[in-house]
Subunit: 377 residues, 2 copies
């Protein structure tokens, strides 16, 4: 069993990092963006499509998979990789974010969180131990601890108590896991503390004291303004060990990724490229970075979505065709637009990595933002 290992290859003058992350299912390059495969599928993509986009690692949602089809069933069928036919690394989240989003349907206690399934209303319970067990059954390459993710805004008192609970849950998660020497699986702690610098620092210190293979910054992209996210990112990554991967959960827009990589973050996931594609919102260079394919101006436009993009959708299809597919609710439209958006994100990450290795990250960010802002061709 090949164990988990992170090698920091290079740090750009900006602080942006390039690394190699080795897992039981192969080595991936960082900074990395993981497309979200909520229920054991990156929506509207085959695994071949995912590979072709340049993605090398995907994320699965423990909450969704735990409820249906269930961790026991996935284990009996040979684990999540085999179930979904993806042989690259998989990170699974802890379900915390989804459960806490249920609002009144859940109750948090010291032991864990009780909630009603969004599928059938049945009573369910997640504890740090149950969540680790489920991810071991999935066979995830990177497991995440159960944490509590406070909404924005929250009172400082609540955020502090919540952060301390997440730290205790982190310790219990580590105690519950099969030793990594045996499983090969990594377990990441998640720092919380809301938008309060001292709480973020305390959270990070406590988690590093417990000791994990990597650390995530949780509790961002929960509705706070961009300036506040950037403020937290101005200090939080520095609380984390240099030698280990740093993962910013649930983020984000291309400009967020450019910013966070510059702050020394290595890993990302977000539903944005896949979800936006299903709504006809496409990421492009030019036009402020976005195209809404349903607009009538694309009805007869023979040009490709993004002339500078190397994806199959841009190589072979016109905006007029994508507009036509979207207006007719054709599944192929969702497929082709998802492929484009995921490819766009992957190309962005590859561009950042190359720039880091060549010590020109800040110039890359500037050029990229300018290109996105240009008028659409």
């Amino acid at each position: 069993m090949q164990g988990f290992h992170f090698e920091l290859q290079h740090t750009d003058p900006s602080g942006a990092r390039a690394g190699l992350m080795t897992t039981p299912h192969g080595t991936v390059e960082t900074p990395i963006f993981m497309p979200v495969g909520t229920r054991g599928t990156v929506k509207a993509m085959t695994v071949e499509d995912v590979r072709r986009s340049g993605a090398s690692m995907v994320l699965g949602n423990t909450y969704h998979l735990f409820l249906r089809p269930g961790a026991d069933l996935i284990e009996r069928l040979g684990g999540l990789h085999r179930f979904m036919n993806w042989d690259g690394p998989i990170l699974t989240d802890s379900g915390g974010f989804q459960v806490f989003s249920l609002g009144k349907l859940r109750t948090i206690g010291e032991e864990g969180v009780s909630f009603q399934s969004h599928i059938d209303g049945s009573k369910c319970f997640l504890s740090p131990e149950i969540v680790v067990k489920a991810q071991e059954q999935f066979g995830s390459d990177v497991m995440m601890q159960l944490d509590e993710c406070p909404p924005f805004p929250s009172e400082r008192k609540y955020v502090a108590r919540s952060m301390e609970l997440s730290v205790r849950w982190a310790a219990r998660s580590k105690a519950a896991r099969v030793p990594p020497e045996k499983s090969g699986q990594a377990l990441f702690g998640i720092i919380q503390g809301g938008m309060e610098e001292d709480l973020r620092r305390a959270s990070a210190e406590a988690l590093v004291e417990i000791g994990f293979e990597g650390y995530a910054i949780g509790g961002l992209s929960v509705g706070e303004p961009k300036e506040i996210m950037q403020e937290v990112l101005s200090y939080a990554p520095d609380f984390l060990p240099k030698a280990q991967p740093r993962y910013l959960m649930g983020v984000g827009k291309p400009e967020d990724l450019l910013y966070a990589v510059g702050r020394g973050v290595d890993m990302f996931d977000c539903v944005m490229p896949t979800r936006n594609a299903r709504n006809g919102h496409l990421f492009v260079d030019g036009d402020g970075g976005h195209v809404n394919i349903k607009q009538a101006r694309f009805r007869e436009d023979p040009s490709s979505l993004d002339a500078s993009c190397g994806c199959g959708t841009c190589a072979h299809y016109s905006r007029a065709y994508l507009h036509h597919l979207y207006k007719n609710r054709e599944i192929l439209g969702i497929m082709l637009m998802t492929q484009h958006n995921v490819h766009y994100y992957q190309a962005l990450m590859k561009g950042m990595r190359l720039a880091i290795l060549e010590d020109r990250f800040e110039a890359y960010v500037k050029a990229r933002l300018e290109r996105r802002a240009e008028p659409l061709l």
Copy 2:
């Protein structure tokens, strides 16, 4: 411009035929099944998926494309092949079947048919000349004449008058077309006459007298019992010239294809493989030929859909995974199941062709029907 040409390669003792059909977009082997790409996309398949399934020719619906995005727009964008990125042959139907299915929303006259668009209720008109023109704008390799398709059951008097109208429309279609030496496009006549042998014969004779590159048998698969379809097929193909392709429109189930090929039919199309896939109905060898993936018995079934199938879905995914995707309405489920069904149909056609070339068609049909009936593994 490579013109249209049909070469009858071999006729099996049963009467089943193997041939080669050459079009401006390449040569295809017959008997052939054309997946239906209604609006310029075979639903939930990329063109690469279509190719991989073994399909070499697709069908487009003139009615749908005429209404949206419109024949003028498709022409300005370089034709249907370029619009949808399919470089193989395309047959387009005439829209007749769709228009006549509108019931009270349409009025038939000698000149053509008036109807209300199902999209926005606007008034539209199709004539034989308009339909030929639209298909010339699409750049279809095989165009179909506008015909009237009577419902089942219909009175003999109505069927006779309707058939005669379709013959007059056939003559007008031929008169309206760009000469095939110039366009390379083929135009097929459609024999009608309902379930009446003498009307079918009269229709065929009149169309052959006018002269087309191929002939279709229309007006079947309109709700009649299987025995009646087989009765019409017991005589209708024999009314048609041996040297030209015969196309049975809108048919059908695997057992219908086995029967009709045995009666000397060369070409087919049907929405069944694609539409059934979207509803979780899969064609397999065994279990009576059908699997309904939503059944609870597949929830934890690690085996592939059809052990004898060579498609990517059967190679890489379990019934349990497909069941999971279906239950969660994941688009990937539709994609993988569509790929399987279309591949199943193509493999069936390839099996028939090989058997014809080896003079063992009837044994093949028998074995294939027996295999379909076997209990599911």
